[in-house]
């Protein structure tokens, strides 16, 4: 059987859903992404002008407050360095981060779960309830904490091949 990044993205989505997260958007490889976050103006206009995270979700903490989760996935663990760098750049753009929260806001007629965007907008960037995840196939099935990204927690999920197959 052949594997792809989509196995990893779906494994992460299922893992997070089973842990009580709400999955908001998943962006399959080469597909169209519904959850688009504008980038700050680029120096080189050939760069993509928006982020299309592989996965976006919401985690409810024990105290009832919500955390926004943004994840990037790769099949090969070695390829996660690029994604880590991508998320680092995202973490440094207040406008981009706020846009992600804006998409996940509560409003009349909107979803049951979401952020009070007016309150979120008042927070300093470092206070935004946000976590970044990276995921890939690995030598062992693990969840490890990485060095924080601009102060935001960052975690890495890896699965062995047998665990990855067991979707």
């Amino acid at each position: 059987m052949k594997f792809s990044e989509e196995h990893v993205t779906r494994k992460l989505a299922i893992t997070l859903q089973n842990a009580g997260y709400e999955i908001i958007a998943v962006h399959p490889p080469d597909g169209q992404g519904p959850f688009v976050i504008p980038k700050p103006p680029q120096l080189r206009d050939i760069e993509r002008s928006s982020y299309h995270p592989d996965l976006v979700g919401i985690r409810r903490k024990n105290d009832g407050s919500l955390v926004l989760v943004i994840a990037e996935c790769k099949l090969d663990e070695n390829d996660l360095n690029d994604d880590y760098a991508k998320l680092k750049t995202l973490s440094e753009s207040r406008d981009s981060l706020l846009f992600a929260f804006f998409r996940c806001q509560l409003f009349e007629g909107g979803p049951e779960r979401g952020f009070d965007f007016e309150e979120i907008s008042k927070l300093e960037t470092s206070e935004l309830p946000l976590e970044f995840y990276l995921a890939s196939q690995g030598k062992s099935t693990l969840q490890t904490a990485l060095k924080s990204l601009n102060g935001f927690p960052c975690y890495k999920y890896t699965w062995t091949l047998p665990d990855l197959i067991a979707l």
């Binding site: 989509e6 597909g31 519904p34 406008d95």
Partner: protein, 546 residues
């Protein structure tokens, strides 16, 4: 190498009778198999390579102009249906970007289906005027003005000054505004109100955005949310399907947008978690049948259910019913009944060609010839009779970019809508290009593009030298004829491929500034067929049909 598959054994097939070829995502192919009773347990998926020569020869005509997202074939490669799925509502000329793929299906006599959001919610940077709404101190007035701004052709300040100061008064005043507004604007407003506020008609439209969600401050930016309703270019797409379907079923299906997901996904509904078909969960796929509201009430079924009814009929080799598709082009259902008048304007003096902006015009060929002659074109255009009407699709380009998308689709759209009568839309007549009116692709290359864009002679020469290395022709027209007599359509680069096939004449007008122009002019396939310089038996023409 084995194909990737998430399909459970109960749905996949060890002895397949059908293949779902995909270039979009694997998920789309598996979504199709899972929800189609005619494919479930009888089909497998195969990825179409990026290179067309990886596709079986029998299927190449369907991808000769561009590769479709999905093609269903029998196991022995007989095409069953060609499918496109897009969740982003196209805008402007991009609305027609994929039409060349449907044109290929029509030429091959193969049914096609297009799943797209005909109307949707959009988020984009707010204009300065819209952003000023956030600065209104009085909350009541701010809400009223924001609500008013969500309607077309309403001046909120004027109404507020007339004492209309809340949403209820605004709504009740809309229909009584007839005598105070000019006719065309009222029609636009009334049209919007009936569709997106009252929403009691035969067609379910998406609801209007609440005023309080209209403009938001997001960091240093202001973002507005609005309804993108189908406009002129979308009306052309839907009319295209209606026309072609009189010979080969080519059906659009409306992808549903819901208000609840306004901000999360611009309203587009997805399968997030599918309990019955967990292999479809978390793959950004369209919803399954029966998961979204009925859009066309006379049909009584949701669009995805109808989409799969078409797929099932095509796979079973049964006649495909109309499925209520005429609703898309019924007057006043999606568009004002007179919208066709906005498709193109007539040019009555040849000088207008030189000053017209991007867009569609039509004129007698005599005027076109005069205009091109004035620009210094020496190409023999005598096979365009003076009183033959030609449609001119003009674009302006200031950068060095390829002119493939969306123009290939735009030309395929105009070929059907502008150049042919209904009797000329059968597969055999489509390919013969015996058209009632002509089609001209006119690219005005400005600034950087005037110097560096390779459309059309340089790109043609590059193709000629690459594809016919022994070729000695210097004349671009002869180079094109040699290519048509030697290679398949898909061998020619996309930046000129469809342009050569659909256009009677291709024009590249280089604007060197100071009213200095140079012009490259080339006769395309329809003109060359008409003058017997090429024939339907030539390899390029043969490569377009099955």
């Amino acid at each position: 190498m084995a194909e990737i598959s998430f399909l459970p054994e109960s749905i996949s097939s060890k002895n397949p009778r059908f293949i779902v070829w995909w270039t979009g995502t694997l998920g789309q192919a598996e979504w199709l198999i899972t929800h189609s009773s005619a494919l479930r347990g009888k089909a497998i998926t195969k990825e179409c390579g990026k290179k067309l020569d990886e596709l079986p020869a029998e299927l190449r005509p369907l991808a000769a102009l561009e590769q479709p997202d999905l093609i269903i074939t029998t196991i022995d490669m007989k095409p069953v249906i060609s499918i496109e799925i897009t969740e982003q509502q196209e805008f402007g000329t991009n609305a027609q970007q994929r039409m060349a793929r449907f044109w290929s299906a029509a030429v091959c006599g193969v049914p096609s289906a297009y799943l797209l959001p005909v109307e949707s919610y959009q988020l984009e940077n707010a204009s300065v005027t819209d952003a000023r709404l956030l600065e209104i101190k009085d909350p009541k007035k701010r809400l009223f003005m924001s609500e008013a701004a969500t309607f077309p052709d309403i001046r909120g300040e004027s109404l507020w000054n007339q004492g209309i100061d809340n949403v209820d008064k605004l709504y009740s005043s809309v229909e009584s505004m007839e005598s105070k507004t000019n006719t065309s604007k009222l029609s636009n407003l009334t049209f919007f109100f009936k569709k997106h506020v009252e929403n009691q008609e035969d067609v379910l439209h998406i609801r209007k955005i609440d005023g309080k969600e209209y403009v938001h401050k997001v960091g240093s930016k202001n973002v507005k949310a609005y309804i993108r309703t189908p406009k002129v270019t979308s009306s052309m797409v839907l009319s295209w399907f209606s026309s072609v379907s009189k010979h080969v079923p080519a059906y659009p299906f409306k992808l549903h947008s819901e208000y609840e997901s306004l901000f999360r996904t611009n309203g587009i509904v997805h399968t997030v978690f599918d309990e019955l078909n967990p292999h479809l969960s978390f793959r950004n796929l369209p919803p399954g049948p029966g998961k979204t509201p009925v859009v066309h009430k006379s049909e009584g079924k949701d669009e995805i259910t109808l989409f799969f009814e078409m797929i099932n009929c095509a796979v079973a080799g049964e006649e495909i019913p109309e499925l209520g598709r005429s609703e898309f082009t019924s007057p006043d259902k999606y568009f004002p009944k007179n919208i066709k008048q906005e498709w193109r304007t007539e040019i009555k003096h040849h000088k207008e060609f030189l000053i017209s902006s991007s867009g569609d015009t039509f004129a007698k060929a005599k005027l076109l010839k005069l205009a091109l002659s004035e620009l210094g074109c020496e190409t023999d255009l005598s096979n365009l009779a003076d009183d033959f009407f030609v449609n001119i699709f003009k674009i302006k380009c200031g950068v060095n970019r390829q002119l493939a998308d969306p123009y290939s689709g735009c030309l395929a759209t105009r070929d059907i809508l502008f150049c042919r009568e209904e009797s000329q839309l059968s597969p055999e007549k489509l390919i013969s290009f015996n058209r009632t009116q002509g089609l001209i692709f006119w690219a005005v290359l400005e600034k950087q593009a005037a110097k560096t864009n390779t459309f059309i002679f340089p790109e043609l020469k590059r193709n000629y030298l690459k594809l016919i290395p022994s070729g000695k022709e210097k004349d671009p027209q002869e180079q094109l004829i040699a290519l048509i007599k030697t290679v398949r359509a898909e061998a020619i680069s996309k930046s000129i491929r469809s342009h050569l096939i659909f256009s009677d004449v291709l024009v590249a007008q280089r604007d060197h500034g100071g009213s200095k122009y140079s012009v490259e002019c080339l006769l395309g396939v329809p003109s060359l067929l008409r003058s017997d310089k090429i024939s339907l038996n030539d390899p390029l023409m043969q490569s377009l049909k099955i």
